[in-house]
């Protein structure tokens, strides 16, 4: 083999990290790149692409790609297809990696050695990083690094990603490789092909043979995982603990975020008020305050919830609890055709569908993930509460039924239940009727528990927050400005008596849509209010205030309640509630779906199916109520 550097093409050397799930690959990636990383999607697929760069002690600037975890190059999911195609250098739009660094959990080598043997066949420069080497040592696992390297035919370097000095050896290797020294397995021709079952068995035997020669089993095995699992995977206690964790998490997202969200809202309101006092009345002022500031505000206001939710998710993931939770929930979620991991996104969606949809990243299988994304907005989010409260207090009498239950409370409960049931039903239809055929097997490793690393946590949360602000921010902001435009143009003529919104495009569309919504008992004022109400569900309250010209908007809710109580029938009110259970009245959610699925198709499907459901539900509600004499 030539001694030329594998990095001899002149540009910045490109390294790709490959490894089993849970091997600490992302921790190593974080340790190497620090905050110099970028999260995006791979071209044309929904798989997350994490790239970063760093400068070695020898002064070489290196690009590093963190590939999705896999047990084999024989890809089973879109994530693993990305890993396979990048490793093979055939992913369109991705440069070929100059060096593959296979990351292994030193305490659990059995499966990764087979991956190393497979990677060897690809014929690219290759290096094996034995990560968590300190934990292996602590357990008394003795790894003969030289022997391992000799038997594998691949250079091996121990690393400890969570410690500052833990990557020194790896960096030295990369420097030496850049100097042209033969410190990594050299590039040869690609002889990889998809292995058959017999070939998998054969490589497995070879890996076993190497382990017997080079690794002495632990003298102090990890008993903590066994002990914790006795409790955490106990069929009854385990489920109770899971529910407690979920309850706590939900409470945190719901309540801890509130003061910060109020603060952010107050800040943006204050900014609007200041601009209102500074700029003369006119289009520019309206664009800045009602369009841009309201738009940016409506994005930023979700940030506290996203930060709190992802803090929990990353903690649970790093601890190793996530696969256990999926294990406990598999049977329950499986009834609706959803994956065990879908419960966290769905639960989070009770606070807000936006962090919930972002949290679907914990689901590996694409169809399971899409099904979860599509039903998440059916969970009753907190933005529906002001709308529900307004209508219920205006129309449902405040009395007790059955001795102890408040009728208003029961209606509220019914609305929540309707959301949950319809989500399960839609998921069932999607997974069992539309995407029939292969049921993904539930087959996952239960990794050893690990103490989460603070630095990884901070970086993980920061990455999520940044991605949300950058990508969702642009989509959501542009939709907000569009809604502002529709509600403001053209302006009211001179001497107009009706609210300005009546003369705008939104007003015209509302009047134009009127015949369409007459069968579900909506009047034109409601239809008009639904258009600015697309900005966020709770905006509908203020919008109704605007079209009914009730001064004070949100603050003067009791005046609005009176007006609605006089101008709507009970059937119309119930129909409006049914509409809000299903309707996609939230531009931000559609924006996030656009970002998370990396396509326009899914937000459109979501909009269409939810609007259809809303229309049918309102139609049924209105006619049933009317037949009961409530019209």
């Amino acid at each position: 083999m030539s001694l030329a550097s594998p990095f001899s093409h002149g540009g910045a050397p490109r390294i790709a990290l490959v490894g089993n799930p849970n091997c600490g690959k992302t921790a190593l990636f974080n340790a190497l790149t620090g905050s110099r990383q970028k999260v995006a999607n791979y071209a044309g697929v929904t798989v997350e692409r994490k790239e970063g760069s760093f400068t070695t002690p020898g002064g070489h600037r290196v690009q590093v790609l963190d590939l999705p975890g896999t047990y084999s190059l024989r890809a089973r999911s879109p994530d693993e297809e990305v890993t396979r195609d990048v490793v093979l250098g055939r992913f369109r739009g991705e440069a070929e990696p100059d060096l593959l660094v296979c990351v292994a959990d030193a305490t659990n080598l059995r499966l990764v050695l087979r991956l190393v043997l497979e990677l060897k066949m690809v014929g690219r420069p290759l290096l094996l990083a034995l990560n968590m080497f300190d934990i292996a040592k602590h357990r008394g696992i003795e790894i003969d690094v030289d022997r391992l390297s000799a038997e594998l035919g691949v250079p091996v370097v121990p690393t400890v990603a969570v410690r500052r000095a833990g990557t020194v050896d790896l960096l030295k290797r990369i420097d030496a490789a850049a100097e042209g020294l033969e410190v990594v397995a050299p590039g040869t021709g690609n002889t990889w092909h998809e292995p058959s079952a017999e070939e998998v068995r054969a490589t497995h035997r070879e890996a076993e043979r190497i382990i017997k020669l080079a690794v002495r089993p632990p003298t102090r095995p990890d008993t903590w995982t066994t002990r914790l699992d006795t409790v955490l995977l106990n069929p009854v206690a385990g489920l109770l603990i899971l529910l407690t964790i979920l309850f706590f998490m939900f409470q945190a997202v719901f309540t801890w975020a509130q003061p910060v969200m109020d603060g952010i809202k107050a800040g943006f309101d204050g900014l609007s008020a200041w601009i209102n006092g500074t700029l003369p009345d006119g289009l520019l002022r309206s664009l800045i305050t009602d369009g841009v500031i309201a738009g940016v505000g409506s994005v930023v206001v979700f940030l506290p919830q996203i930060v709190i939710l992802f803090t929990f998710i990353i903690l649970l993931e790093d601890f190793g609890y996530m696969p256990r939770a999926a294990f406990l929930m598999d049977k329950i979620m499986g009834g609706a055709g959803l994956h065990g991991r879908a419960f966290i996104p769905l639960l989070s969606s009770f606070a807000c569908a936006i962090p919930g949809i972002m949290a679907t990243r914990v689901i590996d299988n694409r169809r399971d993930r899409l099904a979860t994304i599509m039903v998440a907005p059916l969970m009753t989010c907190s933005a529906r509460i002001p709308v529900y409260t307004l209508i219920i207090s205006a129309f449902v009498p405040d009395r007790t039924v059955g001795g102890a239950f408040s009728l208003q409370g029961l209606v509220m409960f019914g609305l929540y239940a309707a959301g949950i049931l319809s989500a399960l039903l839609v998921a069932f239809v999607m997974r069992r009727l539309v995407w029939r055929g292969t049921v993904e097997p539930f087959l996952m490793e239960l990794p050893a528990y690990k103490v989460p690393d603070a630095k990884n946590l901070v970086m993980g949360v920061w990455t999520r927050a940044k991605a949300f602000l950058q990508r969702a921010g642009t989509t959501i902001l542009s939709i907000m400005i569009l809604i502002w435009f529709l509600s403001s143009f053209p302006g009211a003529p001179e001497g107009a008596t009706d609210p300005a919104i009546d003369y705008s495009i939104a007003g015209m569309v509302g009047h134009w849509l009127q015949p369409l919504v007459a069968p579900i008992g909506f009047n034109w004022q409601m239809t008009v209010a639904l258009i600015p109400g697309m900005a966020a569900r709770e905006v509908a309250v203020a919008a109704l205030g605007t079209v009914y010209a009730v001064g004070g908007g949100e603050e003067n809710v009791s005046a609005l309640m009176d007006t609605l109580g006089h101008s709507w029938s009970l059937a119309t009110a119930l129909s409006f509630l049914a509409w809000y259970v299903f309707a996609p009245q939230c531009a931000s959610t559609l924006g996030v779906v656009r970002r998370e699925t990396n396509s326009l198709k899914w937000p459109i499907i979501m909009f269409v199916y939810m609007t259809t459901l809303a229309y049918l539900a309102s139609l049924a509600t209105y006619h049933i109520a009317a037949s009961l004499g409530w019209a």
Binding site: E199, D229, N234, P235, F327, L328, I332, E445, P447
Partner: protein, 130 residues
């Protein structure tokens, strides 16, 4: 393309090459919590499984560590229908549904490691190498 050593279309005697299964071999899916066994065969010969095609399921099980000769122990069971199951496979833990565990045949574990079943199977596996 690799040609499987087990002919796909041989319904009467589906498995002439691998008939040396021990008498007590049974699917992992029927094992109860606490049971310890040795894997003697992975893969459903000719049986159509409702999740994946048999060859794909076999490879996935192999890739996550269910190989012939591995020691398995049922650690935990789910609440409903005792499903899914958490299994210790050699020195790691894997969760799977009983439906997929049907494709794994186990025999009683013999602690010395020289289980005749395991040894016999090892020889057979050698013979079927492409």
């Amino acid at each position: 393309m690799h040609i499987s050593s087990r002919p796909a279309a041989a319904p009467a005697v589906p498995d002439t090459g691998r008939t040396t299964l021990p008498a007590d071999a049974r699917p992992l899916s029927r094992a109860a919590k606490g049971e310890v066994g040795r894997v003697v065969r992975v893969g459903l010969d000719g049986v159509i499984h409702d999740s994946l095609n048999p060859e794909e399921l076999e490879r996935r099980l192999l890739e996550i560590g269910f190989v012939e000769g591995a020691r398995v122990e049922i650690l935990h069971e789910g609440l409903f229908g005792r499903d899914p199951i958490a299994v210790r496979v050699d020195d790691m833990r894997v969760a799977l549904r009983r439906r997929e565990a049907e494709a794994i045949l186990i025999t009683r574990w013999q602690p010395d490691g020289a289980s005749p079943a395991g040894a016999a199977l090892h020889v057979i596996a050698e013979d079927t190498r492409p």
